[in-house]
Symmetry: C2
Amino acid sequence: MPFVAPSKWVQTTSLQDLVLLTKALGDETRLRILALLQDHELCACQIVAVFELANSTISKHLAILKQAGLIQSRKQSRWIYFFLTPQPQPEIDAAFVWLNQCWQADPRLEADRRKIKDILQIDPVELCRRQNGKDCC
Amino acid sequence: MPFVAPSKWVQTTSLQDLVLLTKALGDETRLRILALLQDHELCACQIVAVFELANSTISKHLAILKQAGLIQSRKQSRWIYFFLTPQPQPEIDAAFVWLNQCWQADPRLEADRRKIKDILQIDPVELCRRQNGKDCC
DNA sequence: CCTATAATTCGATTATTAACGAAATATAGA
DNA sequence: TCTATATTTCGTTAATAATCGAATTATAGG
């Protein structure tokens, strides 16, 4: 039976986790996604519609936020919905407290909020058709 | 007399400031510098001695931290001492509160603390001689 | 006023990250 | 089971950031 190192040995240090977290927060698009997710859970196609970036780009941003422990996802019907991690580990919870203090009343975030409000009116089926159809760009 | 836009017009939004701040925090070396500065103010040559990076690199990191409003500096004799911004604006103060929650008892930060303890024993004159002399590297 | 020197700036290089479109994956619903 | 499609992964390119050594700056102290 081969020797297996206890999982403790490969555990990342809190500094490494923290760097993962601060790097995840160190991008404007990702901060704006987090701000939107404070109000609603959203599927990828809705986030794509807000930022007008390629869906592969948004997917990457979401993966970074997820790996940092900031968000989670669940599948419902044909869509994957992303939402802020509920009751996250303390260091992430504290990060949210901090961010909330910072980003209230920012004009760009307000604009994003208005935009998502319109997007939420559109049926995701129609939204995805627009994104995957050739009338895009 | 030329028209000069009121400074208000070029004022950055809070989101931009926040991105500046999160980017400044999104680097391991800079987080470690901040952790060290929680205990002591330090001059550039002392920080260089801890990290074994070129003084130009450390200088850049310090400039980024300073621009984000996290640190300040003062000149004393031949050295410039860097220290955490006392009573900073609320969003930065909240960031420090958050960081303090995160980085207590991390082994790498502990090691840095031990190292700076030794370095503080050395006269800065001698420290800088070692760095600028040819016996380095 | 000089000179020595601590720190910064500059210019170049390397490494990392963001972005895209296309291809692959996975699966809901027919 | 099969097909349509929402999301992810892949491969590449472009932009940004970290790093270095050398040159420059600014100034403390002789």
